[in-house]
């Protein structure tokens, strides 16, 4: 496949901008750039066909099954795209007078109201642009809270379980905290004794995903949050896995003080090949004074933006990825009080169905019902046949299935983490199960064929070492 730059032909252009009619104003030479710009020269048809071709080499949710664990790749309703494209949303300047942005403020206000109801929180900031950004914001609230109590200097530690997403410890570091890892118990939950030993007067917070990355709802959750609160720490909910329980049980009722949501996972908005997402940060009332600036609030005339008294400031410009919030609100309005918990139950049903069927041949390291996702361990298969989780993942690609999350969580060896989501039909699940079975049998019969997978993709396995040792991070025309 040619790169866009390789399709360039001098002289081609779209002529979409006229020359100015007040050309007597010219930038003085002293400010002018010396090195020329070098954008490709293309006709509109070149661009259209080029990107159409590129789109054929991308696996989207619209193309096929996408059981990528912890990423909730559910089908994205098209109505959300159309609503978010309404000119009365897209053509609104963020610094317009408040009385001319009542519709936008209502979107944020309703989204806050509904998402607080679903999560059991009291207020929510939509400024964070993604889940990790929401985590950063949530820990800032915690830091500002401890500082406001004169406790900031001594509460220096954030506790995370060993099954946590990598963002949790990284977010802690961004906030100047030291990470303390606590091990999981035999059932995959938090080891209570280890937690009791870890907490103390230096505890700022515990960060937890529940259901966790093994797909297990921690039945000791009330005890866990109590242990941390008793030590004076706060408890942070990583909302990456909310899809399993939305509308059924609320983080606020589990004892969590602050959360982030991944709108682009749980509330049906598309991932865009890696963003834009939206990672709103919600909190209990006692933390609301610390929320970022421009907090949405209901007033007599509708909604307005307010400046919280002890605000942490801002984590980005303006009010967040607004159009993504529009899509999420659309989704919530459509599903409503009944549809939200039904979606959660559907995700859990699909995951348990796949888990039951796959456990006939694959090892599932943790027993019992899973939530919206589950983890297979291919350690035994690898030991016996040499076929690794990576090989199986690559073989799935040849069958039109996006691989599950691999080698995560870190506490399971040769892990494949499968999250089917509620928007997949039984025949899709049955076909995927069949493919998994066929690959297992191929592994025992002809391991080498799996080491060679994938064969039918755009490119085959890549030399990642070469990419990292000698980084080539842009197109250079004369390099060949």
């Amino acid at each position: 496949m040619e790169l866009l730059f390789e399709r360039s032909h001098s002289g081609r252009s779209l002529e979409n901008i006229p020359a100015t009619t007040v050309s007597e104003y010219q930038l003085p030479e002293q400010f002018a750039r010396r090195t020329p710009l070098d954008l490709p020269s293309l006709a509109e048809v070149d661009i259209s066909r080029h990107y159409t071709e590129l789109s054929h080499h991308v696996h989207g949710v619209n193309c096929g099954f996408y059981p990528l664990g912890s990423c909730t790749m559910k089908y994205n309703p098209k109505i959300g795209e159309e609503i978010a494209a309404l000119p009365n949303f897209t053509q609104i300047h963020p610094l317009q007078p408040a009385q001319t942005t009542k519709g936008c403020l209502e979107v944020l206000g309703l989204a806050q109201q509904y998402l607080c109801e679903i999560t059991g929180m009291d207020a929510m900031s939509f400024q964070p642009a993604a889940g990790a950004h929401g985590e950063f914001t949530g820990l800032l609230l915690i830091k500002a809270y401890h500082h406001s109590r004169g406790d900031g200097a001594k509460r220096t530690k954030v506790i995370v379980p060993d099954s946590a997403h990598g963002t949790n410890p990284a977010s802690a570091t961004m906030n100047g905290y030291t990470t303390v890892n606590v091990p999981s118990n035999a059932e995959g939950g938090v080891d209570l004794d280890a937690l009791r030993a870890a907490v103390g007067p230096d505890t700022a917070a515990l960060m937890l995903t529940n259901p966790n990355t093994l797909g297990i709802f921690d039945k000791n959750i009330l005890e866990i949050t109590k242990i941390v609160h008793d030590a004076g720490g706060l408890v942070y909910y990583d909302g990456a896995n909310l899809n399993a329980v939305m509308g059924l049980v609320r983080p606020g009722d589990m004892g969590f003080d602050v959360i982030h949501l991944n709108i682009h996972k749980t509330f049906g908005t598309p991932h865009g090949g890696g963003g834009p997402g939206s990672g709103p940060c919600g909190c209990k009332a006692f933390l609301a004074p610390f929320l970022p600036k421009d907090q949405i609030k209901e007033n007599a005339e509708g909604y307005c933006l307010t400046q919280p008294a002890q605000s942490i400031g801002r984590v980005r410009s303006f009010y967040g990825n607004f159009l993504v919030v529009v899509k999420a609100l659309t989704y919530i309005l459509m599903l409503g009080a009944k549809g939200i918990p039904e979606a959660a139950q559907g995700s859990v049903l699909n995951a348990n169905y796949m888990k039951t069927k796959l456990s006939e041949v694959y090892d599932v390291p943790y027993d019992g019902f899973c939530m919206h996702e589950f983890v297979l361990s291919l350690e035994k298969l690898k030991h016996e046949t040499g076929v690794s989780a990576l090989d199986v993942a690559k073989a799935l690609m040849d069958n039109g299935i996006h691989p599950p999350t691999m080698y995560f969580p870190l506490i399971v060896h040769e892990a494949l983490m499968i999250e089917p989501t509620e928007t997949e039909s039984k025949e899709t699940l049955d076909r995927a199960i069949q493919v998994f079975m066929d690959i297992y049998h191929a592994a025992t019969a002809d391991a080498e064929s799996l080491h060679q997978a994938p064969r039918h993709t755009t490119v085959r396995r890549l030399d990642e070492t070469r990419a990292a040792r000698n980084p080539v991070l842009k197109y250079t025309p004369d390099k060949d």
């Binding site: 080698y407 990642e464 070492t465 990292a468 040792r469």
Partner: protein, 126 residues
């Protein structure tokens, strides 16, 4: 590959060799480079850094992992092997030639093993 008998080793898989009484060169062992696979980057320490025996000195990256290199001695970094900046693969090719840092003014030392004792440690881990 055999571990040179005139080198010393620590349990965290670094080697050191004395350049003179108060100066050592430090690298990672063959066992360590094999476990990590193809290295893509060496995050070298800075000359003038003070090191503490048993604490991280710097780190090395493969495509999918990053590992700390622990200082086997306390002292001061007085030289670094800048060639590794552009050629991390030298560690894979010849781990006992590809020294990472030189540490001088040594005030403390980890428990040092000779080649045979270190090989016993590796055998246990395998």
């Amino acid at each position: 590959m055999t571990n040179p008998s005139d080198y010393k080793y620590v349990r965290s898989h670094e080697w050191l060799c004395y350049v003179d009484d108060d100066r050592v060169r430090v690298g990672i062992t063959d066992f360590a480079q094999q476990a990590m696979g193809d290295l893509v980057f060496v995050n070298l320490p800075i000359v003038g850094d003070m090191t503490t025996a048993g604490e991280p000195l710097c780190d090395v990256e493969s495509v999918k992992s990053v590992e700390d290199i622990f200082a086997p001695v306390s002292g001061e970094v007085t030289a670094i092997n800048e060639e590794l900046m552009d050629h991390p693969e030298l560690i894979n090719a010849a781990p006992y030639d590809a020294w990472i840092a030189e540490i001088s003014h040594i005030t403390d030392t980890e428990e040092l093993l000779d080649a045979a004792a270190y090989e016993a440690v590796c055998a246990e881990e395998e």
